[in-house]
Amino acid sequence: MREKATTLYLGPQHPGITGNMMVKLKVEGDTIQSASTHVGYLHRGFEKLMERRNWLQSFTILCRICVPEPDPNEENFARAVESIEGREVPERAKWIRAMVLELARIGTYLLWFAGQSGSAGLYTMGQWSIGDRDYILDLFEELTGGRIYHMYIWPGGVRRDLPKGFKDKVLQTMDYLEKRLVQYDKLMFDNTIFQKRAKGIGWIDPAKAIEWGVVGAPLRAAGIASDVRKDDPYEIYDKLDFELGHATTSDVWGRSQVRRFEIEQSINMVRQIMDKMPEGEYYNRIPNPMKWEVPPGEAYVKTESARGEFGFYVVSDGSNKPRRVHVKGPAYVHAVTLLEDLLKGANISDVSFIMNSLGTCPPEIER
């Protein structure tokens, strides 16, 4: 006897899924009775591979953990190693790191615009914002040599200093993006159809949000001002002036609003950074990278990535290889238990919409 509910496989080979994962839906009519997330399609065993690589080699594979936004990985790991070793980071390096992180955040938000609007059928928005994201990638390419994977932030600082004239280019790009934001508003955020689609969809109970492990923009959209940059400031974020996105609707619309606000804030932050960045050393050189040993210790460090709190748990046993690296991305909670909860009773039309609003990124779930 077959089941009553129809099984729908959303993914892995499906245009509606973010990346390579699968959400198995049981639907009756177009109402979802239950959903279960299946991951593992991208599992590479990073944590195992890092046990076989020395500290510096680990950086080359680390950044591949979350593809849309690789920099928080590097920064996190570098900071964890520094915190275990007690290594000082030059002031300028901290500023450069913050700049890289904010640029990465802008890029990720632009990519998210594409995902969120594309899942609602507004493809023009995606075309524009991904095209604009390329300008950020160009900056990265000039700074680090790579478009996507940078391997730029190292323990002890960053790999290179800013190239000549880079500051102007960054500021120009920021000005350009700020102008574009107005057009995004017209196309997406002021669009009544988009608002009709987004309002009231994917509601997270604000009273339960923290307990369910919601972090990042979804949590701020629930009216809880929580951001690692404010709560547990790292690098130089306590010296920057910025506000957090805020919404109380706790639905897809609220999350869009939060992100829309924060991309503006990030642009401002990049400007502040370029303004206040001190001169000086950018790299506190580590002795011999191949034989570099880190004293025993452990650290749990976290960054506010574009999707929320991104944590690294690093344990060293005193050898030249990490004992254990455990990565916890926000999607680890968002895309599994939270998504399964939110999809119960939702409409089929909204699956991909809700998924995008939570900032699902499968590679960080399975690593």
């Binding site: 077959r2 099984t7 496989y9 993914g11 080979q13 009756e28 009519g29």
Partner: protein, 618 residues
């Protein structure tokens, strides 16, 4: 012997014989029924002519029978479809018990319908009407008393209808001094407006119950769905047409004589009732999960169109209504037979469970496909012709409210695509399920009637003139003149649709397309099972259901939610509950036993006769 009497007697004899034959051999009883209906049909089509008439004197009063072009149309419809259904019923009912009971009532119903058609006075019409009601009631409870007390509901509404008709007959008799239908037609104009309205409303209630007009439709869905399918084909296809038959007499000829005919209000209310019936019934049809009930609601909706057509009263609209009545009898009869075949072969008609019967029952599918296309009114099949005439008649009628009526009708018939597709998809398409692997095509004796009727729809689509001719004759008898052409549809503005070039075009293109598809890389075209589908790269497990069949039209349901919140049934139930508590003792009467009901029916009949006698002797 008079051929009219012969038809009735043969049918009656068939009823008795099939009842007796059951004692000898169950299958014989179906055969007897089929043979008698066949013989009656032969006599009807060969012997019966417009000149036939007869009178049966009963205690100083005589029952008058006759035949005219209008009643010939309905008589032909009844016997024409009944032959096929009776043939189908032989195989369908095989192996069931109490066949004698079933076929006795089956034949009796058909006899009663023929009697109604033959009657030229109200009394004999009323008698046959009641016989029809009882015999059909007995078949509804053939399967036993179901939980919804379907039979009771049907009986209550039929009784209301019966009393209404009885009252109407008495009133008209006391006013005009005659039971003859013709006398009512000629004398109607002389009555006062109040009396016209009284008679009209009473008759309308009587006929409206049988043709399931909006507030009186409550009995129909369950009654259609719970009877054996072989009978439902008759029930929905023909029995409901008796209501249309009566309404036709009233709307076309009676009302046209009276002032009420000119006031528009009466016919307009009826037309809107018909349209609302069809819209609401369509909405209900598309949320059903049982194919039988889907078709039952669909029947109500289709009868709604016919009523709209009759009520509008222009020549084209009456033609459309009569055309639709005939075509509806054919395709709905076929569809109920299809569902019966599926039920017999697969054991269920639940569209959420069934699926992919197309490969196992291809002929049944073909019959279903043709009937559904006709039902949906898609060209080039017969249903389209009727729909087209209905729309054109509404648009060309030149009356403002009718333009919105056409939108209502259109809404209902567009929404009919939804349930049409749901029906085909739920039963015949979708995923192949291992639990239905054993299903085989129905026996030939069931397939042949279905396929023949389906092909008939095709022929009617190409040559609607075949049907126009008898309809035009009937209308001419009723005093409405129409022009008709063999393959051209036309309205009063002079716009035409030519069916022949349409057919040619469709046929040519279809053949070209199909040929191309078949021969282009034929060697490399492969058939795969329905398990080999795009499932995002995953391989579904065996227990997982890959057919989307539950709540198929949920988005649409959400859109029409405000309309669907209120259900007429609940109002009646509330009234019923109130009455029940008031008359607690009345519950004792409803024993739930068919035979007790039969006794009530007989008592009811004798009371009626007593009342009648007292009035006749006045």
């Amino acid at each position: 012997m008079n051929s009219l009497l012969l038809v009735i007697l043969i049918l009656l004899a068939g009823a008795v014989l099939s009842f007796l034959a059951n004692r000898i051999m169950p299958i014989l009883s179906g055969v007897m029924s089929f043979l008698s209906i066949g013989a009656a049909a032969v006599i009807f089509f060969v012997q019966v002519s417009a000149a036939d008439s007869m009178a049966i004197p009963i205690s100083g009063f005589s029952l008058h029978w006759g035949i005219n072009a209008y009643s010939w149309l309905f008589g032909a419809m009844v016997l024409g479809l009944s032959v096929f259904v009776a043939l189908y019923a032989i195989a369908f009912m095989k192996g069931k018990d109490r066949l004698g009971y079933f076929f006795f009532n089956f034949n009796l119903t058909i006899m009663a319908m023929m009697g109604i058609v033959f009657s030229t006075d109200w009394v004999s019409l009323f008698i046959f009407w009641e016989i029809m009601t009882w015999s059909s009631f007995l078949i509804i409870i053939y399967a036993g008393i179901s939980e919804g007390r379907v039979g009771t509901k049907y009986m209550i509404f039929s009784a209301i209808g019966g009393y209404a008709m009885f009252m109407a007959i008495l009133v008209s008799n006391s006013l005009l001094g005659s039971f003859q239908i013709a006398d009512l037609v000629s004398g109607f104009g002389t009555l006062s407006l109040g009396n016209q309205a009284l008679i009209g409303i009473l008759f309308m209630v009587a006929f409206g119950v049988k043709s399931a007009v909006m507030p009186l439709h409550v009995w129909a869905p369950r009654a259609y769905a719970d009877s054996p399918m072989a009978f439902t084909a008759i029930f929905s296809g023909l029995l409901s047409k008796m209501g249309i038959f009566g309404m036709g007499i009233l709307m076309i000829s009676v009302f046209a004589q009276g002032t009420i005919g000119q006031t528009f209000i009466f016919s307009n209310i009826l037309a809107w009732l018909g349209a609302v019936t069809s819209v609401i019934a369509t909405f209900y049809a598309l949320i059903q999960k049982d194919a039988k009930r889907l078709l039952a609601y669909s029947s109500i909706a289709q009868l709604g169109y016919i009523i709209v057509g009759l009520a509008i009263g222009t020549p084209l609209s009456i033609m459309a209504a009569l055309f639709l009545a005939v075509v509806h009898a054919i395709f709905k009869g076929t569809l109920f037979m299809v569902v019966g075949a599926v039920e017999r072969q697969a054991g269920t008609t639940n569209m959420e469970e069934l699926g992919a019967l197309i490969r196992k029952m291809p002929w049944t599918f073909m019959a279903a496909l043709f009937s559904i296309i006709a039902l949906a009114g898609v060209p080039p099949l017969g249903g389209f012709v009727g729909k087209w005439m209905l729309y054109e008649s509404l648009i060309t009628s030149g009356f403002g409210a009718n333009y919105f009526l056409v939108i209502m009708v259109f809404l209902s018939s567009t929404a009919a695509f939804l349930y049409s597709y749901r029906f085909l998809f739920g039963l015949f398409l979708g995923q192949e399920e291992p639990e239905f692997d054993h299903v085989k095509e129905a026996p030939a004796i069931m397939v042949v009637p279905m396929v023949v009727l389906a092909l008939l729809l095709l022929v009617i689509g190409a040559f609607p003139g075949l049907l126009f001719e008898p309809i035009a004759n009937a209308m001419a008898y009723m005093g409405v003149d129409v022009n008709w052409n063999m393959t051209v549809l036309s309205n009063v503005w002079g716009d035409e649709v030519h069916m022949e070039p349409l057919w040619t075009s469709i046929l040519v293109m279809f053949v070209i397309g199909a040929t191309f598809l078949t021969f282009k890389t034929r060697r490399n075209t492969r058939y795969v099972t329905t398990k080999d589908i795009h499932t995002s790269g995953e391989i579904p497990e065996a227990h997982e259901n890959m057919t989307f069949s539950v709540n198929f039209y949920q988005p649409f349901e959400r859109a029409i939610e405000p309309v669907m919140k209120r259900k007429m049934d609940t109002y009646y139930n509330r009234i019923g509950e109130g009455l029940e508590s008031l008359f607690g003792f009345a519950r004792k009467i409803y024993t739930g036993n068919g035979q007790t009901y039969a006794i009530y029916v007989i008592i009811f009949l004798s009371i009626l006769i007593l009342i009648g006698e007292t009035i006749f002797n006045k």
